[in-house]
């Protein structure tokens, strides 16, 4: 289902056409209606800045005529920095190196060989999962590659320094659809400190950072109790007259708005239950912080309180040495990492697939795109002289839910897993992080060819650089 087209521009904006390279008539412009919608969000600030400063432009243009899947309401972005070995996991290549207890097993009429012994619970969810094996990273440097997949562009590139996290883009795009009951931020990041944030967007679109705890959010409740808070809040409203007079200026009123929103969040019934979990659930998801993150991610999308993008992060995959070392105190190997990953991820898919969605007949998994991404892959074949695997650009991404057909494989690598034998999609080339993000945007109904004209560099901010030129596109074969 294509996204409804916005009306044509009613605000003359000749610079937009220059910057984006196509005539105004062929592009979607910045409508008055759109402005009024945006005016209710934090973007109003940049709009007025535009009016006062001709150097800044407003609005956004798109390539037009783009087919958007719009099959997902939410996305859960599972990030595995450090980069797991693909040929030991999602793109299993069996060799003399393969530990026997990986128990490689065929699934789906030999379509998939999977290390059942390493991830037994995930193996039971393969029917919901699609592997995209013709992925290729741009950079074999951790920090560079990590930023790249989270901002959909070269961090050292022209707009790398101003780029928001893709979750912030989702939050901004979903802002106009928020309801009064949507008290949660659009983008929540679980156990993901240090990730890119709102870039040049207002801070309200930055990830709301949460480190999961059984008792929920650390700052959602007032530590001195509800009664004391009530007294304090009332007295604050009375004494701090600048909150109502605006005598200290608009920036202070913006802050006051966030106080009001925070109060609404605190007052929302059972909101902390979204961020809390029981011992039984903690155990079921593997009794790890990552498991806790996915419990909370599940709860967030189930709550339907305005969050559209959830990131959960599990680092520790940088196995340059001892990748197959058996679990023991202090050991970090594929065994220990997968022991954290497996129960959490498998429980998430299992739970989402049995929970009702917001639309009758749909499950929560139907409405939630769950994607696993790392910054790159690892070297193939025999292990290095440290019994590990080093950085390698070839990588697999793993997809489920949100309109993705499960039990599918896109792309085929050669016998080693180091190169591609069949790209497996209409692009007929390597699938880049930009394609991955285009796919996420398309599934969520966000036009990945969008170029905003409110960026401080005044060169146009593309959601996915070069997508409007057709350089990148969604992996439509998955849907």
């Amino acid at each position: 289902m294509a996204r409804p087209r916005l009306p044509k521009s009613t605000i003359e904006c000749p610079d937009c056409t220059k910057a984006s390279g196509f005539p105004l008539g062929q592009s979607e412009g910045f409508s008055r209606r759109r402005f009024m919608q945006i005016a209710g969000t934090g973007l109003v600030a940049s709009y007025f800045a535009d009016v006062l400063s001709p150097r800044l432009l407003q609005g956004a243009t798109t390539a037009g005529g783009v087919y958007l899947r719009a099959t997902a309401k939410n996305a859960i972005f599972i990030f595995l920095p450090g980069a797991p070995s693909n040929i030991d996991t999602w793109d299993l290549k069996e060799g003399a190196w393969t530990p026997s207890d990986f128990n490689p097993t065929s699934y789906d009429n030999n379509n998939v060989r999977f290390p059942q012994g390493l991830m037994p619970m995930t193996a039971a969810q393969l029917d919901k999962m699609t592997f995209v094996r013709s992925g290729l990273s741009w950079a074999a440097v951790h920090t560079l590659g990590q930023a790249w997949v989270q901002i959909a562009r070269n961090p050292g590139g022209a707009t790398g320094s101003i780029a928001p996290h893709i979750g912030a883009v989702v939050a901004l795009e979903s802002q106009i659809n928020r309801k009064p009951t949507d008290v949660l931020p659009g983008f929540i990041a679980l156990n993901s400190t240090g990730i890119p944030a709102s870039g040049y967007f207002p801070a309200s679109y930055a990830p709301f950072q949460v480190v999961p705890a059984a008792t929920g959010l650390p700052t959602i409740a007032h530590p001195d109790g509800a009664s004391r808070f009530s007294d304090r809040w009332s007295f604050m409203q009375q004494l701090d007259s600048a909150r109502t007079t605006g005598a200290l200026g608009k920036a202070t009123l913006d802050m006051n708005d966030f106080y009001t929103q925070s109060k609404a969040l605190m007052d929302a019934p059972n909101i902390n239950a979204v961020f809390s979990f029981s011992t039984a659930e903690h155990t079921k998801y593997g009794a790890t912080t990552f498991g806790d993150s996915l419990i909370v991610a599940r709860n967030i999308v189930a709550a339907g309180k305005g969050t559209r993008f959830v990131q959960a992060t599990l680092g520790g995959w940088d196995h340059h040495s001892g990748i197959y070392t058996k679990p023991a105190n202090g050991v970090n190997s594929l065994y220990t990492q997968c022991a954290q990953f497996d129960p959490a991820y498998a429980s998430l898919l299992a739970d989402l697939s049995t929970m009702p969605g917001s639309v009758s007949g749909k499950t929560l998994l139907d409405e939630t795109l769950v994607v696993i991404v790392a910054e790159f892959g690892r070297t193939v074949g025999v292990l290095n002289n440290q019994a590990g695997r080093d950085h390698n650009l070839r990588m697999t991404t793993v997809w489920a839910g949100g309109g993705i057909r499960g039990g599918n494989v896109i792309g085929k690598t050669d016998v080693t897993g180091g190169s591609v034998a069949d790209f497996g999609w209409s692009g007929n080339r390597d699938i880049r992080p930009e394609d991955v993000v285009s796919t996420i945007y398309s599934a969520l109904g966000i036009d990945y060819t969008t170029m905003r004209h409110d960026d401080p560099l005044n060169r146009g901010f593309e959601y996915v650089p070069f997508a409007k030129d057709g350089t990148y596109k969604p992996i439509d074969e998955m849907f």
Partner: protein, 613 residues
Amino acid sequence: MKQWIALAVVAPTLLLGVEKETCPFGPFDLRSPREQQASLNHQLSAVAEAVAPSGRRRSATPPAGDVSYPVSVNYIDDEIFGKMKTDGIRPAPMSSDEEFLRRVTIDLTGQIPDPATVLAFLADKSADKRAKTIDALLASDAFNDRWTMWFGDLVQNVQVSANSREFPQGRNAYYTYIHDSIKANKPYDQMVRELLGGMGDSFLAGPPNYWVRQIQPNGPIQDTYDNLAAESGRMFLGMPMQCISCHNGLGHLDQVNLYLKGHARYDFWGNASFFSRGRFAKSDKNVNNSSYVITEATTGSYQLNTTSGNKTARAPIGTQTTVSPSFLMTGETPRAGEAWRDAYGRMLTANPQFSLAAVNYLWQQMFGLAIVEPANNMDPTRYDPNNLPAGQTVQPNHPALLTRLGSDFTANHYDLRAILRTMAMSNAYQLSTQYTASTWNESWTPYYARHIPRRLMAEALLDAVAKSTSAPITYTVSGGLPAVTSAMKLPDTLEVRGNVYGRFLDEFGRGNRDDEPRENDSSIAQALSLMNDGTVVVNRTHRATANSTVAKVLASTTDPNSIADQLYLNTLSRYPTASEKAQAVAYLKSGTLANKTEDLQWVLLNSLEFLFD
């Protein structure tokens, strides 16, 4: 100004094979400056000020029926008030002593004033007490911390970034160098020359880390040279030189920077070539996290021989396979025997744009809105209102002021304290935030007709919470520096991670000196932390917290009037107004005094006046 622009030698634009209408290379986006977003946010918060009702005033005398202007104490006032007079704009009243003292203390030192300092200042009846205060702040240790943070943000001194690794030891060496230089009042131009020509071991000396910070790990050495040159342009000239490092900026530079549009990638290579005799090597190649050693060779140049990396190909031009150093803004070349990087530093710091960029940054720090925004995208072709390219607008909101500030900074040998003193001394700086002359009109913001309030930067706010509650925080620092008791003393914005204080600093937008610029806008997370974070805020309001302001106040008195006075003084650096005091006293009397005292402390910590400067 026209003269020096005219001096610029525009090298002939060479037609390179990569020129196309649109950016031709999909995977590798154009490189460009790591812009500091702070400038934009200042602009957004400032320019977007609503038509706010004029507020209750607690300061100064109301203006007379006719428009009156403060006296001019220096050229800043001549320019600011002169333009306002010309255009018939009324200024806000002068700040009260309390408002002035808090603002200038935060702006110059990142700290709120001590209560004793407030009282002494209010009691001082001498005519030059504001000047004396400014001089005392300029001489304080806290000044060194606050402006080391500023310079560290400017050069993005950080232990790890997406591209580079200084490591904590290198970051510390850089931090120590900057702090020592600020403390010694080393001229700003000298600091920049020392960075650009930096030599030695990056763990032992600060300047080599300028180079280390720009190492590009996923490309040829020319990518690193390009970073070194481009970032020097962004940081020290306020110009996004990276725009022309790939394809002459075709297709978009019209909108970005007309000055740079007049230059070509070949010119940029001439700039980058100054770095092509620099050499870097791991001090111990067997150790992953060893330092780098930066040296300067006497031979070598910028080779046109790359086909991969982060830039379009660098191919020979006819038979020319190398590019010699030539300064982009003037065409100057190194003197005989002069080390190329030293030559670059000499030329860059001698260019008028160097001074203009610096004063624009400093003005932004003091006044909340730079004269040219964004401050790192200055366009010299758009400075002169009498000599504008067709169809273009003047970029500075006050061109003459920018020029005079730049000349002053140069004439005073790039003395940071001197130029900051001139700004702080001006009556333009000392205007009130509160506008009472009439209903505020947002179009008056670029006139600086009122002080533009800004949320305190992350470190300043955390320090203010700790100081006002008399409950200091100790932060451990990695890489061998001793622990510190002020967030403003942290050597980069990645220190203090994984605890509530780190979370607080992140929430308040300290950024990462890489792809997350420092920000001063607001968020739900900020409000939640200010209201509900037990460790950072709420526990500090408790009488049970030993030596907290509340504990000390309650130990000293049971008089609600005195309690209100003391809490206001410690937190907002002023006494309450009569109305505020009446409300506070009534509240304190409405229940258990100790509880109500804690409540008042909490309310003051959450007041907008506390959060903004």
